[in-house]
Subunit: 333 residues, 2 copies
């Protein structure tokens, strides 16, 4: 009836690998009940976010299970960070095909354990299901921030400067490297780029510090241009950024001699940096925050009132003329 | 690169079918932001629950999309109800294979719309992903109840009576009917059973009324015996129930002449009734609640201190001797 010789039962898996991840969060009830209880701290409200990653789509089926787990968690933490929230807990839905064995589960849980320690949150619930399809992982991240202080997409104002953390495009190049379509760089640079694709570094400590500074924010997951467009659409503004101001890693900069690379960098996605807007008078405070938080923050452009009512993103090239890309970024279909 | 001619883009789908389901819940931001904000009402706390259903596993791939949507939502609402919570909102992760077309999505969203109206909750976030596998739906339900009042699995005490709402086993027989392995009953009875399998009726209005009455509760999803065992394990007690006291529908009762049917009824699962324990002195209040809420509630057994330390469930047959089943209920593997 249910041939699955490679895995112990659902309850054994939970007890062995997942219940330990709930320890320290009383509302998780040790994963021994049907719901978890969670409440925002005094003066705070809860934010929730869910993102799914699918084997063969969002990560290679052969990827190491601990890294898959950490990516599944981190892509959600990145959204919380961009909104200014501190992560508190998460739920985990696992769809497991027959090809998954207990060793995979053990490594997966170990990846979660590491990231729980790094980001200070706990597993508080979930579901494990067999699937005739491929492995899929849905994470629901719960965080909190001061009441009414969520940094929205829609708060940007005309004249606001546009900033982005870290470097852009490394993950897209890393994916190209995984696929074997990247040439002309050193082994060290390739390893760096693949790592940037495999294990995002969400800006969890920085995000909450942007409350009161950023007028709008989003994490860069679909691609810099596409995500900036999301801010433009909801803020009903247009954005102009300068290609030469986009922060690049050394590995990415070395590849810029290929004329097609810039589009990959700006539209490839999976960066998990924070893209945000802030009024010009906040620029000094942001520069100081960048230093104190040891996080690069680059000024890349400015928001404008659209002359034609169109909320769009313009990327200016070296000679000051707009660049045209085939696609602005990733769409799930 | 991404062949999916049958569906419009992710953002178009959200705007067309899912954003309307968020209207009326301000913290959902019209599904135009990366997170949703939710807070418990005064004196309340939030509970969260997630359950996944997978095509070909939890529902037939050919099932009507609106019913798939409603089942995906309702299995989660059933958990909230059994814990005493009032549903407030939900998140939705959709994994869509190429076989899904826009008509399916439209029907799916329509099913959600109907259930939102019926149960008074809103969609506040989610994710849509392409999958090379089968359709899968993960729902995260959020509800609230008075602080500290969650009806846990572990609160049962020796001497508590065991109660269950509605009738047990109909869905298991309905699944058998769908599979074509059920004979000897009328067309009307078959339709009734299939409907019980297809569209659960979670006890949403009743659940919160059990706060202060029930010492422990769980919804019957894995099977009556298996779920009662979950209560026993966490409460560290043993349970004795009488087969003749298990509430059956007319259709199920008519099939009892087949000696194997009783096991199907008690271990088949998918009932989405509430199984709970309460002290004997609460019996009159529970009978009155059953009348006022127009919800059948049956007394089926009692909790005992285990003589051998084993938390187990004993089902007594007509002659008073224990029945032995091959399996206590559904496991996902």
């Amino acid at each position: 009836m249910k041939p699955r010789p490679r895995l112990p039962g659902e309850f054994a898996l939970i007890e062995r690998y997942f219940a330990p991840l709930s320890m320290g969060f009383s509302g998780a009830y040790g994963l021994l009940d049907d719901v978890a209880v969670i409440n925002p701290g005094p003066g705070c409200e809860l934010v929730v976010k869910t993102d799914v990653i699918v084997g063969g789509v969002d990560f290679p089926i052969s990827a190491a299970a601990d890294l898959v787990a950490r990516k599944a968690l981190r892509v959600n933490l990145s959204d919380l960070a961009a909104k200014g929230a501190v992560p508190r807990a998460y739920l985990l839905d696992l769809l497991l095909p027959d090809s998954i064995d207990e060793k995979w589960i053990a490594a997966f849980a170990d990846g979660l354990r590491k990231d729980q320690a790094e980001y200070g949150l706990h597993l508080i619930g979930g579901d494990i299901s067999a699937t005739p399809g491929l492995v899929a992982i849905a994470v629901v991240a719960l965080g909190e921030l001061p009441i009414g202080k969520t940094i929205r997409r829609g708060g940007a104002r005309t004249g606001d400067l546009i900033f982005v953390t870290g470097t852009i495009g490394d993950a897209a190049l890393g994916l190209a490297a995984v696929r074997g379509t990247l040439a002309g760089i050193s082994r060290e640079e390739t390893d760096f780029l693949v790592d940037r694709y495999t294990l995002p570094r969400p800006r969890v400590p920085l995000g909450p510090k942007l409350i009161g500074l950023a007028t709008a924010a989003i994490d860069v997951s679909d691609g810099l241009v596409a995500d900036l467009r999301h801010i433009c659409e909801v803020s009903k503004l247009t954005a102009v950024i300068e290609a030469s101001c986009i922060p690049l890693s050394g590995a990415a900069a070395a590849l810029l001699t290929d004329p097609g690379i810039l589009e990959t960098l700006l539209t490839g996605g999976d960066d998990y940096e924070i893209l945000f807007t802030a009024p010009p008078m906040a620029a000094d405070t942001i520069a100081e925050l960048s230093r104190s938080a040891a996080t690069p923050i680059s000024h890349i452009g400015q928001m404008h009132t659209p002359l034609d009512g169109q909320a769009k993103v313009t990327v200016l090239g070296k000679n000051g003329s707009p660049l045209v890309f085939a696609s602005e970024g990733w769409s799930h279909f």
